[in-house]
């Protein structure tokens, strides 16, 4: 502990020199001058988002076992079922060729791996931005305590978003390790998928968070979201087969779907899927804009609802 760490405040007692020696001997007994209420409020206003993110992550440790099991179990099951089981049918069918867009043909496992990773991002985001958000306002009312402190409502949004990002990166990181284990990623830029899949999760999660915060009365809306948004996106986003193999009538679902953009981006990074450069840039922009728009909406809705 050195002098410049001391907070400006009431001057320490005359015995501070000996106190400092005692400090050096036993850091645990450090005699730091306590913060005044104004100072800790100022600190909370400055770092509030991080405080709330810390609370969020500590809460997550309560169901950490579930997080770990899903993060490890899901990739194993899906990769084995789709990347090995289903792949044996697809790869045996000589009429089907999954061309990488640059003349080369890729195996089904390579084709499906980036989409599975992107799907994991969407699933985690939809899990963390539905009931947990609603329970912050309704059942457990976890937002009202922090909101009564110097923390602003926007910091609750940021803290929650940071926490979700943390879990997303944890999940996509572990998932990617499994992809390597299954030798599903031929390209050297594949590791960037960890981040693009997490971005895809945020692009879906932040607008969902805004929606969840706006629900006043639980009438099973989340079951409907799961059934009419998450599931169709999962099925019609070119996850298990190229989007082009679907009729035009449903292809548009892929174009608006964050999952499709995230999966295609992953394919570019994983095996150099040959698509026009403008399309790749569009994927990144679209996901970023969705995430930012959702974030802005969430801030407005939190502020209105907590300010009542």
């Amino acid at each position: 502990m050195t002098e410049d760490h001391l907070q400006p405040g009431p001057t320490p007692s005359p015995g501070s020199a000996s106190a400092r020696e005692a400090d050096a001997a036993t850091p645990l007994l450090s005699l730091r001058v306590p913060l005044t209420p104004e100072q800790s409020a100022a600190k909370a206003r400055k770092y509030g988002s991080l405080y709330f993110a810390e609370h969020w992550i500590r809460t997550m440790r309560g169901y950490g076992w579930t997080v770990a099991m899903t993060a490890v179990g899901t990739p194993l099951v899906y990769l084995y079922a789709m990347g090995v089981g289903l792949a044996s049918l697809v790869d045996a069918n000589t009429n089907a060729t999954l061309d990488a867009g640059n003349g080369a043909v890729v195996s089904y496992l390579t084709f499906v791996a980036p989409a599975l990773l992107a799907t994991a991002g969407i699933m985690v985001a939809s899990e963390e931005n539905t009931y947990p958000v609603m329970s912050g306002f309704k059942w457990r009312r976890t937002y009202y305590g922090p909101n009564a402190s110097p923390l602003g409502s926007h910091q609750l949004v940021n803290g929650h978003a940071l926490g979700v990002s943390f879990r997303l990166l944890l999940t996509t990181g572990i998932y990617f390790a499994f992809l390597l284990l299954f030798e599903a990623v031929p390209g050297s830029t594949g590791w960037i998928m960890i981040f693009t899949a997490a971005l895809g999760g945020m692009a879906f999660g932040l607008p969902l968070m805004a929606y969840a915060a706006s629900i006043q009365e639980d009438r099973g809306q989340f079951a409907m979201v799961q059934r009419f948004i998450v599931m169709p996106l999962f099925l019609f986003s070119g996850t298990f087969f190229p989007l082009a193999s679907m009729p035009w009538a449903v292809q548009w679902i892929g174009w608006v779907s964050p999952l499709w953009h995230s999966a295609e981006l992953g394919r570019v990074l994983s095996y150099g899927y040959g698509e026009p450069v403008w399309l790749t840039i569009t994927h990144v922009l679209y996901l970023t804009v969705l995430a930012l728009a959702g974030w802005a909406f969430a801030q407005r809705i939190y502020e209105r609802r907590l300010g009542k």
Binding site: Y63, L86, N93, G220
Partner: protein, 283 residues
């Protein structure tokens, strides 16, 4: 017998005597399943009918997406009778079996979990003349009604898509109710052990691999022998195979085994559930 514990009907003014009824399982069963069913219909269909009615959308979406999209990659597959069939015709009965399982499990686990732990519904029911077997059968009947409705809707859509090629295929509807019965009777018993939301996640955790591995999207033959045996021990595979055989009207000795598997599962599940309800509430 004057007034039995089972009937609960007394003429006004008569002294109510609680005598054990003479029926078999009299201590567990009062022959009043319809009360539990009526209450359930009023409660669920009355409050969130949109969720209930849209439940059969999911397998249909799966059928369209996987049948057309994956079908374009897979081509034809060898059907139960050894003949080559289109991929969409191959996965259709499997998806019906899966949706029967999902519907039954969802109804008999999450809903029961809430009713057990939050609504305290069964406690109230068992304070009346209803016995644990009434409650179990009533709850399971509800799940089956829902399952039968979804199965009928799904089969109708198969018909519209021209995927019903034999009259035998109509037997898929009662068969999926049998599948749902097997899962529902077990689901309720297992749920009675659960105390937290996190423990409930384990149910999904077991369902996902069963769904993906049970020959839904590709034949079992792609796996090593040991994994094949493991999957054949699980209930969903038997349901998928049974419906697949019905869909083309091809029957083998295995058909009987599939049906028998479910009959045993239903009986064991009912025994487990009734015993659990009795242990929890009738101490």
């Amino acid at each position: 017998m004057s007034a039995t514990a089972g009937s609960g009907q007394t003429s006004s003014g008569e002294q109510l005597q609680l005598l054990p009824s003479g029926r078999p399982f009299g201590s567990l069963y009062s022959g009043n399943v319809r009360a539990v069913v009526a209450r359930g219909l009023k409660a669920t269909w009355g409050s969130n009918w949109a969720i209930m009615a849209s439940g059969f959308v999911e397998p249909v979406l799966f059928l369209i997406a996987m049948g057309i999209g994956l079908g374009s990659l897979v081509g034809t597959v060898e059907g139960p009778g050894g003949q080559e069939i289109g991929y969409i015709a191959y996965i259709a009965p499997a998806l019906l079996a899966v949706s029967a399982m999902n519907g039954a499990v969802y109804d008999s686990t999450w809903n029961v979990f809430f009713k057990l732990n939050f609504a305290k519904l069964y406690q109230g029911m068992l304070y009346t003349s209803l016995g644990p077997l009434d409650v179990a059968l009533g709850e399971i009947t509800l799940a089956l009604l829902r399952g039968a409705l979804y199965a009928t809707g799904f089969t109708a859509i198969l018909g519209v898509m021209g995927l019903i090629t034999t009259p035998w295929a109509l037997l898929m509807i009662p068969a999926s109710v049998v599948i749902a019965f097997g899962f529902a009777s077990f689901g309720m018993g297992i749920t009675s052990f659960m105390k937290t939301f996190q423990q409930m996640d384990w149910i999904n955790f077991l369902m996902l691999p069963m769904f993906l591995f049970s020959a839904t999207f590709y034949p079992l033959s792609v796996y090593p022998q040991a994994i094949q045996w493991m999957i054949q021990a699980l209930p969903l595979w038997h349901g998928v195979e049974l419906l697949r055989q019905l869909s083309v009207g091809t029957f083998t000795a295995a058909t009987g085994i599939h049906v028998l598997y479910y009959l045993v599962m239903i009986v064991l599940g009912l025994i487990l559930t009734t015993a659990r309800l009795r242990k929890l509430f009738l101490k």
